[in-house]
Symmetry: C2
Subunit: 357 residues, 2 copies
Amino acid sequence: MTHRILMLPGDHIGPEIVAEADRLLQALISDFGLDATLEYAHLGGCAVDAEGEPFPTSTRRLAEAADAILLGAVGGPQWDGLSRDKRPETGLLNIRSTLGLFANLRPAILFPELVDASSLRPEVVAGLDILIVRELTGGIYFGQPRGLRTRDDGIREGFNTLVYGADEIERIGRTAFRAAMQRGGRLCSVDKANVLESSELWREVMTSIAPDYPDVELSHLYVDNAAMQLVRDPKQFDVIVTGNLFGDVLSDCAAMLTGSIGMLPSASLDAAGRGLYEPVHGSAPDIAGQGVANPLATLLSVAMLLRYSLNEGALADRIEQAVGSVLAAGQRTADLAADPKRALGTRAMGDAVINAL
Amino acid sequence: MTHRILMLPGDHIGPEIVAEADRLLQALISDFGLDATLEYAHLGGCAVDAEGEPFPTSTRRLAEAADAILLGAVGGPQWDGLSRDKRPETGLLNIRSTLGLFANLRPAILFPELVDASSLRPEVVAGLDILIVRELTGGIYFGQPRGLRTRDDGIREGFNTLVYGADEIERIGRTAFRAAMQRGGRLCSVDKANVLESSELWREVMTSIAPDYPDVELSHLYVDNAAMQLVRDPKQFDVIVTGNLFGDVLSDCAAMLTGSIGMLPSASLDAAGRGLYEPVHGSAPDIAGQGVANPLATLLSVAMLLRYSLNEGALADRIEQAVGSVLAAGQRTADLAADPKRALGTRAMGDAVINAL
Ligand SMILES: CC(C)[C@H](C(=O)O)[C@@H](O)C(=O)O
Ligand SMILES: CC(C)[C@H](C(=O)O)[C@@H](O)C(=O)O
C-alpha cells in the first residue's frame, strides 16, 4: 500500500529545508522503489496567517490519515505578540497531544568529521552517541490547572501543574528500556525525586519495570547532576529517559555538545509507531530566505521516518550513508564550514546528498 | 558588635571542609581583627541522627539569631530511604524557606590556573565569569498543592505546582538588576514563557522593572536555549536570573563548565542581606573521611560571607587573593591535580591558604 507522508514545512527556514526533503523523497520514489505520496499542510505561524489557527482542522485531518509526518520548524518573532492559543508553539504542542506522540527520541551524535565544531574538547566528545527519550504529551506542558490570576491580596500570580500518572511514566519507560536494549544496554532515568513528588513516582515506576529488562542496567540521576554530567563526561551515557520539561532542557544541552545542531533529527512517536519527524534546530528567522540553511537534520529526519514509521530501514541506511559520504568529502553548509565563502547552500547540499544516494 | 557566625558542618565531607573554614576564621579573628564568634549546630542527615529532624528547632533558633551561616553540605545514601520530611534535603529547603533566603547567588568563575580542568576548549571558557541569580524560596520547590494520590480510575499520580507571584519575581529581579549594575551591566532572564503561564508572568515582571535600571541591558532566553548557549558560548553571559528549578539546573551546568566545581562558593540571602553560604558541590560520600576533599569552595564561601553579611570586604579580598596565590604556586587538591600523588589533602590546603593570607 502506498504510504502517505504529510509534509509540514512551517515557518522561516522550514519551507527551504523541507523542499530538500521533498526532492530526496521524490528521488527515492522514482529511483529506489519507495511507494509513497506526499501531501502538504500548514502548521505554526504560516497556519495562523493562512487559516487563523496554528493547528487547523484541515491539518489535523491530514495528520490523522497520514502514515508519517515530516515537520520543518515553527515559530518566529512576528507571532510572539499573539495570544497563547494562536502562537506557533501552541500548534506544535497541539499536534503532539492530539496524535498522542508521547515518545520523543532525540539522538545526540557527533559526526567524526565535525569534532571541531564542538565547544568541548575533542577527547570529551569524540564518538559521542547518546539517545534522549523525552516524554512529550504530559508533565508540566499539559498539566491542569494552569493560568494567570489575581490573588485576594491583589497580587498577580502565574501557575502551572506538573503531573504524571504511573501509566504515562510506564509507557515512556518501556519505550526507553526497549531502545536501550537495542543500543548499549544502559538507561539513565533523570528526575528531581529529592524535591518533587511527581519525580518520586517517576523513579518508583522506572525501578518497578526494570526487572522486565534484565539486560538493561538502570541508573538514576537528579536533573541538576545530569546537566553537570552531560558537560563533564557525556560519553558516560547511552540512553537517557526523562519527563517533558527536563527533556526539553537536557536534549538541547546534549545536542549542543555535538556542536552541530544543524545535523540532528528527532522522532515523536505514538504507541503504534506512527510519528512526526523534525530537525531539532528551530526556524532560524535570522537566516530565512537566503538559501543557506543546513538541510541535513531534515534529511536525517527523513531517514528516521523511513526506519520507524515506514519500515524502510534499508532506505534509511542509504540516506545516512549518503550524508556520511558528503561530510567525508568535506562538503559543508555555512553553519559548519571553516571557510564560509566555500560553503554550500541549502539546495547544493540537498543535491550532494541525492547524488550520493 | 561581635558578629555571630553559625557553622553547620552537615554530612560526609561537610565537617572536613568546615573545619578548614573554622581555622581560617580563627586566624582572621586572632590576626586580622575580625570580631566574630562561631557557634555550631546540626543540619541535614547528622541532625536527623542526633535530634530526629533535618532542621531541628535548636538549629532554627541559632540560625535566626546569627548574623551569617556557613554550611558544609548535606545528604547521603544512608538517609535516602527516610520519608520526605526527614530527608537531609528537606532540612536544607526548610532553612532556606524559614529564613526567607530568596536570593541564591552562584558565581561560575574559571580560575586562570585551572583552564585545563574544564571539559570545554580553553578558548571557549578562558576568563569565564558569570553570576547566576536563582530564586530560592518559591516556584515548584514550595508550590501547593503537591503530593501523591490515586485517581478515580485507580492509577497513581504525582503532582507539583509551579507558582510565582509578581512580588516574588520582582524581588529576585531587582536583586539581579542590582548585581548586573555592579558587574558588566547585562542581565539575561531565563524562562519558558512559550509554554508556561508562570513564565509568562516572570517575563512580564522582569520587563516591567527594567526601566528602573537604565544602565542594565535586559535580554530573555527560553531555558532550553539558555542551556545550549551555556555550552556553546558561555562568555556571552554576565548575570543570569531565573526561577528555582531552572536555576538549579543551569547553575550546576554553568559550574561544571569551569571544570572546578570544588572551587565554587554560593550565597543565599534574605531581603536584609543576611545569608547562608555554602560550596556548590555536595557532600561527596565517596570521598568522606579520607581528608582529601577540596576545601577551597568553602573558604571562598567564607569570603562571600564576610563581604555580603559582615561588610568585611577587605578580609574577603584577602581570602580570595590567598586562594589565588596558592593556585598560582601550583598547589592542588586531588580533584584538580594533574598528578594525584602530589596532591594536597584538605588540611594541607587549608594551611596553605591560611599561610598565604
Ligand atoms: C517550541 C517549544 C514549544 C518546544 C518544546 O518546548 O517542546 C521546543 O523547544 C522543542 O523542544 O520541541
Ligand atoms: C539538595 C537539593 C535539594 C538542592 C536543590 O535542588 O536546591 C541542591 O541541588 C542545590 O542546588 O542546592
